[in-house]
């Protein structure tokens, strides 16, 4: 296994190596994540992009060890490097922990926070917003209810919710979509995690609300110095938010690199095609878009070799359909998983 | 839907069981070997006679004759099997005359004893107080109880689909009225309602009249559930985009209903109907058991079980409880079948 991006900066806060998460169903096995490797640089925003079924959400859930049955991590490691600040310095392999054990539970919410696409359904409909935030705080910090409540109010204030004391006692369905997502962020950040995983945090929101939430995330990152893993299918959001980008296709990382390199000098044919095919607000009016031929294969019949080869314009018969390329650095930076750059 | 249903093994087995039971319904006369009303005070409360299949290593099915004597202490007749007296059981034996499937006149029965004197006859499941053969009565009871379920469900189905359809399709005032009626009907405890209605049946009515009245009464409550299912499906389907697409394609109201809506909820109706049948059977059985449903000389499972109402009778002749076994089996089978159908009917279910 060759390390992809490891530059001179401090060790990445999280390293995923050859992660495999499979879903064992009656009809067959879905290899949702199948050998994904990437690093999450400290205090930066890493974007994970890909189309539906590429395994980006499952990757996020695998990191938190909340993959649901019949899904299971069948291989690989997830190394979390905690710093001394939390009092539990050192490296830990999340893939090796008991998903229901104490240590993993301390990491969830304590070291890694998670926010979801659906802010409406991410809160229990029968508990107040405050109840859930206070619960989280008390779970990870040994404080009284009053102190936890104070902290929760502070968090709501921090994410820009007006009248936080009152909102604390309201239910999620009483808040608007934007406020709900803010409350969700407040809950995820209430115990000061070093990593925030945001799984499609703005997909369900309107553009103007999306702008508000993205702004908030950026602001919070500057202030708290946390690492963000932003999972999205929206390349615009990635371009605006991320420092580093991971591109996934059918459960594998096809390319990783700094955002500028990915958008202006993409290496992998999939990344190139994806970027060309997105409708742009800067395009000339009424123009045809270059498209990627075909459609994403059904999860039960993955192509052999490089998963992208049936749709790839640079397909090399005899190579791409025979063996699987691995993620390797090319030139000075980005890691690419393609035989064009490192012949088999 | 079919292939999904077939994956449901228990449901498949249950379907076979239900099918077998209805075979009994069709062939009740053939399976019975004595007329259900033939009574003989001398033979009251005979215990079941187990069939012995082999005799001296040869297949020669027979039962032991029963020797009765009166217990000098309790004055009750006690019967003991007499291994010496072997009564041969024949297949396709001649018996009373009947019309097979209501058409073919015959006197052949599945099993029976031929040409034996009155006391040397067959009581596979024993006899009741009046000395009537429980097995034969059970066959006829099955016929009544299972058809009452079907007829009742058919009535409920017509009422339910009609009213539910009107309610879901047109909405407005009709919907409100039908919904209120359903609510009121459902808010009344069913058993007192049935009891009240059943008690209202005149004593002088014939068995047939009572049979239909009872079906009417039990379907009175049954239709509300079906109407709710139909209405619910109509309402949710009306929201589907493909219905609007059909409307925009210029389809008439009738075409939308029959090519888009009905096929989409037909499977749900079938499932709901299957689940409604056991409820009907239970209702009939309960009412007859209370003496408010079918009355003798009609025979149904409930009527049969009525004899098992008191503990003393049961303790002496536990075979009177035997009719409860088919009741439980049939109801279980219908429930499993309906459940399987319901799972298979839901195209978006896991």
């Amino acid at each position: 296994m060759v390390d992809p991006v490891t530059d001179s900066r401090a060790a990445p806060i999280l390293s995923v190596r050859d992660l495999k998460t499979h879903f064992f169903q009656d009809e067959g096995t879905v290899r949702a994540v199948d050998g994904a490797s990437f690093d999450v640089p400290r205090r930066k925003t890493l974007g994970i992009v890909g189309e539906s079924g590429c395994g980006k959400s499952v990757t996020a859930r695998s990191i938190l060890r909340i993959v649901e049955r019949p899904g299971r991590i069948v291989g690989g490691s997830i190394l979390l490097r905690r710093d001394a600040g939390n009092g539990r310095a050192g490296e830990v392999d999340l893939a090796g922990l008991d998903p229901a054990g104490y240590e993993m539970r301390q990491i969830r919410g304590g070291d890694i926070g998670l926010i979801f696409q659906e802010p409406m359904t991410s809160f229990s409909p029968v508990h107040t917003v405050g109840n859930q935030i206070i619960e989280t705080i008390q779970l990870h910090q040994n404080v009284s209810v009053e102190a936890a409540r104070l902290k929760a109010t502070e968090m709501l204030h921090l994410v820009g919710i007006p009248k936080p004391e009152r909102r604390l006692d309201e239910y999620a369905f009483q808040l608007s979509g934007g406020l709900r997502q803010r409350a969700m962020i407040a809950m995820a950040l209430s115990c000061g995690p070093r990593i925030l995983i945001a799984d499609e945090p703005t997909t369900a929101l309107d553009v103007t609300t999306q702008a508000q939430i993205l702004d908030l995330l950026r602001h919070l990152q500057d202030r708290e110095g946390m690492t963000i893993i932003l999972i999205t299918h929206n390349l615009g959001v990635v371009a605006e938010m991320c420092d580093e980008v991971v591109v996934m296709y059918l459960g594998r990382v096809v390319e990783q690199g700094p955002v500028d390199a990915i958008f202006h000098a993409p290496k992998h044919p999939y990344t190139q095609a994806l970027l060309r095919s997105i409708p742009s607000i800067h395009a000339t009016v009424r123009t045809e878009l270059p498209t990627i031929a075909g459609s994403i294969p059904h999860p039960y019949n993955r192509p052999s070799g490089c998963p992208f080869h049936p749709r790839c314009p640079d397909f090399m018969p005899g190579t791409c359909d025979r063996s699987e390329p691995s993620l390797r650095p090319v030139e000075d930076g980005p890691g690419v998983s393609c035989f064009l750059y490192h012949p088999a | 839907m079919w292939w999904r249903f077939r994956k449901h093994r228990v449901a498949m087995v249950s379907t076979v069981v239900v099918f077998l039971f209805y075979l009994v319904v069709i062939c009740a006369d053939f399976l019975a070997y004595s007329t259900p009303l033939a009574s003989e005070a001398q033979r009251s409360l005979l215990p079941p006679q187990p069939i012995h299949w082999f005799d001296g290593g040869r297949l020669r099915p027979h039962v032991y004759g029963l020797a009765g004597r009166r217990d000098p202490v309790t004055f009750k007749r006690v019967y003991t099997p007499d291994p010496e007296k072997k009564i041969l059981v024949r297949f396709f034996a001649r018996g009373f005359e009947y019309h097979l499937f209501g058409l073919i006149p015959t006197n052949r029965h599945f099993i029976g004893v031929e040409g034996a004197p009155a006391e040397e006859t067959l009581f596979v499941l024993g006899t009741d107080e009046q000395g009537r053969d429980v097995w034969s009565r059970l066959m006829y009871g099955t016929q009544t109880s299972l058809t009452i379920g079907l007829v009742g469900v058919a009535l409920s189905l017509i009422l339910g689909v009609l009213l539910g359809g009107i309610s879901g399709l047109y909405g407005g005032v009709m919907d409100t009225i039908i919904q209120r009626v359903i609510e009121i009907l459902r808010s009344i405890p069913t058993i007192p309602l049935w009891m009240g209605l059943a008690a209202a049946l005149p004593n002088e009515w014939t068995t047939m009249q009572i049979y239909f009245a009872i079906t009417l009464i039990i379907s009175l409550v049954g239709w509300t559930e079906l109407a709710r299912v139909v209405r619910g499906r109509f309402l949710s389907l009306r929201e589907e985009d493909f219905v609007m697409a059909a409307e925009l394609a210029g389809c008439g109201q009738m075409r939308i209903i029959f090519t888009h809506l009905v096929p989409s909820f037909l499977s749900h109706i079938i499932a709901a109907t299957t689940l409604a049948i056991p409820a009907m059977i239970i209702s009939e059985t309960s009412l007859s058991f209370l003496g408010l449903g079918l009355r003798p000389p009609a025979i149904s499972w409930g009527v049969l079980l009525q004899q098992a109402q008191n503990v003393q009778a049961l303790a002496i002749s536990p075979w009177l409880l035997i009719p409860s076994i088919p009741v439980i089996i049939v109801i279980l089978a219908f429930n499993f079948m309906g459940d399987g159908l319901r799972d298979a009917a839901d195209p978006y279910g896991h």
């Binding site: 999306q210 929206n234 970027l275 409708p279 045809e288 498209t291 459609s295 | 697409a245 394609a249």
Partner: protein
């Protein structure tokens, strides 16, 4: 409403003062306690052969407008004048339901959800031939030929005719939906978010298909969408809606490069651009979209508008043509210089 200034054009659709209010019913007696002004005095027209896009955020009334035009729902008031293929003009909004049928052949819809818009129990042939059958067009063999032709037109193999929709991917299903819409050679196609449920790479395929079909079959599109990037790729003109009203309407290029309404400006600025070098300072709107059941006084946008003055709080602005073909509903439209997006 003034004309567009393009002399030779034919107005296929002319919407005047369209309104759709939904009653809010509450409580035990379902008493009407208010109204949601989903569409509130909307006027625009669509010319033959062009694409007009209705854009706006969720709940702005764009979908309701589209459905009112098709008479999938009956509008509260207003006119929608439609020019039939025989040249006659009828008001679809006030037509009795029984007379809608011939018109339905000329206006069709493409749906957002490629799953719920196709009946899972019918084959591709049944689905695509439905409009033909419903309108009694052709013999069975002619219908088979027509369906095959339609499937080829949208890029599907005619051999798939006997399959059921569940065997197809989202993009392919959307193609089936398009084939159904084209079956009767309509002149107007209303597309309600046709690509928003699709993956990025498939979006491009469907958009291209729609553009190609428009040129090939001389179609007119009313395109309803929330994604401004998609809109830019397909439309000739764009109308921006906010809380049931059109706030700005202009040719696409002009609207994107030189918007005149502050809401349009904010909307354009909020769209994330897929280019990290363009991380410009964004205009982030404060607050939430106004409630259509209880809208603010004056201009509905004023509580969020950074240019709002007193007049905006009191007077409701009217949609005015401030330049030929450029309609804006803003008191300060003429004095403000707003930021658009470059090429």
């Amino acid at each position: 409403m003034g004309g567009l200034g393009v002399g030779s054009s034919v107005r296929l659709l002319d919407v005047k003062g369209l309104r759709k209010f939904f009653p809010i019913r509450k409580g035990f007696l379902k008493r009407e306690v208010g109204q949601v002004r989903a569409v509130d005095d909307v006027s625009f027209h669509v010319e033959k052969g062009e694409t007009l896009s209705l854009v706006g955020e969720s709940g702005c009334g764009k979908t309701t407008t589209a459905r009112c035009i098709l008479r999938a729902i009956t509008p509260t008031s207003g006119q929608t004048l439609f020019r039939g293929q025989d040249g006659s003009v009828v008001d679809v909004a006030s037509l009795p339901k029984s007379q809608l049928r011939p018109l339905r052949r000329q206006m069709q819809m493409i749906f957002q959800d490629p799953f719920s818009s196709l009946n899972p129990r019918r084959t591709l042939f049944d689905i695509v031939a439905e409009p033909l059958v419903a309108n009694e067009v052709g013999t069975r063999q002619e219908r088979v030929d027509r369906v095959a032709e339609l499937l080829r037109l949208v890029g599907l193999r005619p051999e798939y005719m006997r399959r059921y929709p569940h065997a197809f991917s989202g993009g392919q299903r959307q193609r089936i939906g398009i084939a159904r819409a084209l079956a009767l050679n309509p002149s107007l196609i209303v597309a309600d978010e046709p690509v928003s449920a699709l993956d990025v790479s498939v979006q491009a395929q469907i958009l291209n298909l729609m553009l190609r079909l428009q040129a090939q079959l001389d179609l007119t599109y009313l395109f309803v969408a929330h994604d401004l990037s998609v809109v830019k790729h397909v439309s000739d003109r764009v109308a921006v809606m906010y809380v049931g009203k059109i706030v700005e309407m202009a040719e696409t290029q002009r609207l994107f490069t030189a918007p005149r309404h502050p809401y349009t400006e904010a909307l354009l600025s909020a769209v994330p651009k897929p280019d990290p070098r363009l991380r410009a300072h964004r205009i982030v709107l404060e607050g939430e979209v106004a409630d259509a059941a209880n809208p603010p006084s004056g201009c509905y946008f004023h509580p969020r508008c950074r240019y709002a003055v007193d007049a905006c709080r009191q007077e409701t602005p009217r949609l005015e043509e401030i330049e030929p073909g450029h309609f804006v509903s803003c008191h300060r439209a003429r004095e403000l210089t707003l930021r658009g997006v470059g090429q």
